[in-house]
């Protein structure tokens, strides 16, 4: 049964050094608040998993908490590179980042296989690509009926998955809607799970066949309004494009990045504190306070 609990406690008790952690979100509902809390608590030696690592992964990687990244597309959407990710891969700073690289189809199927308690995912994939040459976890199996050759990759089974959603009820049942990405699969593939939500309501008012995660299948639900900022939460607030653009110069320099992280994340108490400091340093619009 999901406990409705403060984010700090959820991260403290559920994310452990050395864990494999997936913070998922496909552009929409990216769990930034939870990512910051992982940084504040200085979780170490993590293996991060995500189809589309973006700014929050750039931050966790840049702070040195990550040993390995399993992913399929890493960039700053609409802007360009993830400079901290690139520096870790190209320059080994602040530590060498091991990568295991897939295609989106591979990752999406690996989450499905994980949620289904299968040891591997089966797909038509990677044909003609060099990815199997650099990733020994891309193998091939034969169909026992037709003899066809199909790709096989290990399931993703995170120790913890973290997502953000629109709402939860008081029993911890969670509703998300709009762009769903792989969040449901990522949660069900994981041993433990944390869901931050925009609001906690008496009744989810979920449409029939909506994407609802029952509270009993989750470990913790945390009330973090605005917790997907600077990404968006459909029905609540828009993405703050300026933050994404402003991130590029911040992340280009190691020192600039460290200074920014200290001021905005390490020296703030929580995500609300981060938003307040951001409003001071970048102006209230950049902190997204007009919409959140």
């Amino acid at each position: 049964m999901a406990l409705i609990t403060p984010l700090r406690e959820a991260v403290s008790s559920l994310v452990r050094d050395g864990d494999t952690v997936a913070l998922e979100g496909f552009t929409h509902l990216i769990p930034h608040a939870a990512g910051h809390e992982i940084i504040r608590q200085a979780k170490k030696d993590l293996t991060l998993v995500r189809m589309t690592p973006d700014l929050i992964y750039d931050q966790i990687i840049g702070m040195g908490g990550v040993r390995k990244l399993i992913f399929s597309w890493g960039g700053n959407p609409g802007v360009g590179s993830l400079h901290r990710f690139r520096d870790a891969v190209e320059g080994g700073w602040p530590r060498r980042l091991e990568i295991e690289e897939h295609s989106h189809a591979g990752m999406a199927n690996a989450y499905v296989a994980g949620a289904s308690n299968l040891p591997f995912a089966l797909l038509r994939g990677y044909t003609g690509s060099d990815l199997p040459k650099v990733n020994p976890n891309i193998r091939f199996v034969e169909c026992p009926f037709t003899g066809e050759r199909l790709a096989a990759i290990p399931s993703v089974r995170p120790d913890v998955t973290v997502i953000h959603a629109q709402k939860a009820d008081r029993r911890g049942n969670v509703l998300l809607w709009g762009i769903l990405g792989v969040q449901k699969e990522a949660v069900l593939a994981a041993k433990r799970s944390i869901v931050t939500v925009e609001e906690i309501v008496d009744d989810l008012e979920a449409p029939p066949n909506a994407c609802v995660l029952p509270g009993w299948a989750l470990s913790a639900v945390c009330h973090e309004p605005g917790g997907a900022y600077p990404s968006y939460a459909q029905g609540y607030y828009e993405r703050d494009n300026r933050f994404y653009k402003d991130w590029d110069p911040v992340a280009r320099s190691r020192d600039g990045f460290r200074d920014w992280m200290k001021r905005h994340v390490l020296d703030t108490e929580d995500f609300a504190g981060f938003r307040r400091v951001l409003a001071e340093t970048a102006g209230p619009k950049a902190a997204g306070q007009e919409v959140a």
């Binding site: 959407p77 189809a105 044909t127 494009n241």
Partner: protein, 268 residues
């Protein structure tokens, strides 16, 4: 009654590239759309000659009809305007792998002579000079769509003799290498650039310049290509963007700039 003939001064190189790419999409086509230039061209097609084109984005929207261009592959406007929004696994499993995509519309960091795509790395994989974002949906889009359009700006850095890494297969080593590798879809049928349109030779599958944009010289195109580019003996001049398409494109981009304050796009 004589109208002024539009000249190349009336549109930019990016505009003719976008309009030329959009023209390749037929009405009713089911198109798996990459973000950035492919998304601009596909939406322009929808807003002009192909109102029934079906746009599918890897984040889940099927039949998206965005009013402004998405900045990322998962913008809210894609979800709100779509016929339905499914999960990302379902997009890749039931819709792409399911064989339901007519055209995969991709961008690229680099392409080679046989229309293979690199979006992974410049330099060695284990000691990269430039680490690019990676594969995203492209390997399976390139493999499984019935045909593939690639749109990118032409330069020696982007059009290279040999890719450091094949992220997504075009025709591999050319000839029937793609078929022999068991790749189901038909592969790239056009590479649309800011200088012209390249199409694969039907037998060797080598990319050949078959259409050149007005005002561009063959020398310029060769100069911007990292291998000795074949020129079609039948080389055509790309049709100039008509006024309606140009107006629709500029309107779309102005709406997008107003909405987002920028116009680029990426996965994520």
């Amino acid at each position: 009654m004589a109208e002024a003939v539009p000249s190349s001064a009336d549109f930019s190189a990016t505009e003719i590239m976008t309009v030329a790419a959009s023209r390749l999409l037929h009405d009713g086509t089911v198109c798996f759309v990459g973000i950035g230039l492919p998304s601009t061209a596909a939406n322009l097609a929808r807003l002009t000659h192909a109102p029934e084109v079906v746009l599918i984005y890897e984040s889940g929207p099927i039949g998206a009809k965005p009013n402004v261009l998405p900045l990322s592959i998962g913008d809210g406007d894609l979800a709100l305007t779509a016929d339905t929004v499914v999960s990302t696994p379902e997009i890749f499993r039931y819709w792409l792998q399911g064989g339901r995509i007519d055209v995969g519309f991709l961008g690229a960091a680099q392409v080679d002579r046989f229309a293979n795509i690199n979006t992974t790395v410049i330099g060695a994989y284990d000691a990269p000079k430039v680490r690019l974002p990676g594969a995203g949906g492209a390997p399976e889009i390139a493999a499984q769509a019935k045909e593939v359009f690639i749109v990118l700006k032409q330069s020696r850095k982007a059009f290279v003799e040999k890719l450091p890494f094949i992220t997504s297969a075009g025709f591999l080593d050319g000839g029937d290498a793609r078929e022999k590798a068991g790749i189901p879809g038909g592969g790239p049928t056009a590479v649309i650039t800011d200088l012209g349109i390249l199409t694969p030779d039907p037998v060797t599958r080598e990319l050949t310049l078959t259409s050149i944009h007005p005002g561009v010289t063959v020398e310029q195109v060769k100069e911007a290509t990292g291998w000795d580019l074949r020129i079609s003996p039948d080389l055509k001049t790309t049709e100039i963007p008509d006024a309606a398409a140009l107006a629709a494109l500029r309107d779309l981009q102005a709406r997008t700039a107003r909405a987002h304050g920028q116009s680029a796009g990426g996965e994520g």
